[in-house]
Subunit: 316 residues, 2 copies
């Protein structure tokens, strides 16, 4: 099939899926749930009335609720897709209204702090299985989502010890149905892995774009004109949603600072190589880093098509 998602499943895995927070991830999830028949019914809620109005227009959910509490009524799957910092409050609101036996999950980019914020508000009758689909674009909002966003990407589940294995298996099947590969790990390990594969990369991208914006010797107009030399690629990452990323850094502080410390150590060594004119050391590092990219391409997490040119090659 064109979209690579295969054919529709038989019986839906869930009767009623509630999506709380409908930005890039939430709206992509709604779209793939419907396309793949992963739940019989989709209810959506977003804290923004503007987004709720938009959701009624684009009709990617069957119902748009006016409150998070109303959205989870009768839902056997509840997925929190709000910014990390809003999760605790939402859990407090929906806790008393959750259906017994429901699976509660999320898509947050940090896990330990979400567990700490959400778990205390949930009744013992539901199963809480934190999750993180490692996928996204630099866009945000309900119009930016698409059904194939999770295809061949990885979703990490971090079920707490003692979580109902059947519920975990069902949620894993749900994400596989959405096209994702699924891996399970402890929440704390997730936070360390994502600190290096996602959070610190975003941090240094935001940082260099900020540095370039504040220079006096080089004008902003020059930075913009000559951005195709490499800078441009960082602005893509640094255009990601500010509130989402604020919350990630506040909620994965320890792991981010730890990985940033390693980055800084290495950068100091690299700086010294340049100062000393150590061409051999530089070339050796630059050769080493090529191998990692090859593995990423080999494992389907990246396309090998040249992208700096931002234009299809031709042979003229």
């Amino acid at each position: 099939m064109v979209d690579g998602l295969g054919s529709a499943l038989g019986e839906p895995l869930f009767e009623r899926a509630a999506i709380i927070g409908v930005g890039l991830i939430g709206s992509s999830l709604a779209r793939v749930i419907r396309r793949k028949g992963l739940a019989r019914e989709i209810v959506a809620f977003d804290a923004s009335s503007k987004v709720r109005a938009r959701l009624r227009d684009i009709a990617i959910a069957d119902h748009v609720a006016e409150t998070a509490a109303a959205a989870v009524e009768g839902a056997d799957l509840v997925v929190l897709c709000a910014p990390v910092g809003a999760m605790g409050e939402i859990a407090e609101e929906i806790g008393p209204r959750l259906m017994a036996g429901a699976t509660v999950s999320d898509v947050g980019s940090v896990k330990a702090s979400i567990v700490a914020a959400v778990a205390p508000h949930l009744p013992a009758s539901v199963t809480f299985i934190p999750a993180h689909p490692v996928a996204g674009t630099e866009e945000s909002g309900p119009d930016s989502g698409f059904a194939t966003l999770f295809l061949n990407r990885w979703t990490i589940l971090t079920p707490p010890e003692g979580a109902d294995p059947k519920a975990v298996a069902r949620l894993a099947a749900f994400w596989k149905g959405a096209g994702a590969n699924v891996e399970t790990m402890a929440a704390a390990h997730h936070d360390l892995v994502l600190a290096i594969t996602s959070h610190v990369p975003h941090l240094i991208a935001y940082n260099i774009v900020g540095t370039a914006a504040d220079l006096e010797e080089v004008t902003q107009s020059e930075v913009i004109k000559f951005s195709a030399g490499g800078f441009r690629d960082f602005t893509r990452i640094a255009a990601s949603d500010p509130i989402m990323w604020r919350d990630i850094f506040l909620n994965n502080r320890e792991a981010v600072l730890e990985m940033l410390g390693r980055f800084n150590e290495d950068l100091t060594a690299l700086q010294r190589m340049i100062r000393r004119g150590d061409g051999e050391g530089l070339q050796s590092l630059f050769t080493h880093t090529r191998a990692i990219r090859r593995s990423i391409i080999d494992q389907g997490q990246e396309t090998a098509a040249p992208d700096f040119g931002r234009r299809t090659k031709d042979d003229g």
Copy 2:
């Protein structure tokens, strides 16, 4: 026209263009010279005999010379497209063979050190006009080039004081014929501008990929699997040609260390914001950086199409 390069020019600007060093940039230049009729004849030379053999196969030049000195015989345009560190030696070799009245240029990513290495070897009868097309992909070699690489990108000319204005105008027309916008500035300013828009971005990309490769707590397999969270984008830059980049850092040392110092200052401040939980400060920076990206897109240096998804959106 499909390629956006407009129709062919009338008379060629040059009779015989010699391209010394035929990688991504050199081979793109050969392709666009032929397609746009910018020179009547193209002679190519590369230090690698393998590349020379390949050039005979793909026939993007009219002649493949066996030495740089032979390549420049009778050429009224000579463009050095070799790695920055090789430029001085090439200049020494070709100097005595250059045709009186010829324009000598280059495409190196640094300028002051190239002027210092090349100019002393050139006879007074030629005009040396250093140039830098700010364009590229993460690929290298003669097969990676394409005729539209320079289209709508900027080429910076850094003519020394007193350079023949007619020769400068002709070289500017040449690059415009190749599809580029042209700007003129001093070599030292070029090196500062490129340090922030290209060299430091590459340096920190190489650095974080190196950091990730050496971690003990997070396996290489995890880094690769979950690279779609942002890390992946850095590996693209960090896959750029190691020798080219070694030479850039060795030859633009002062400006790179200066800009890296600014980057580090800002990163320390950002680190402190995270440590102190300064959500307002983080959000303010992350919002600020979005504006720069919008300008880059508005000025045609980037496409707004979402790219983290590495897949065309659909509305399913």
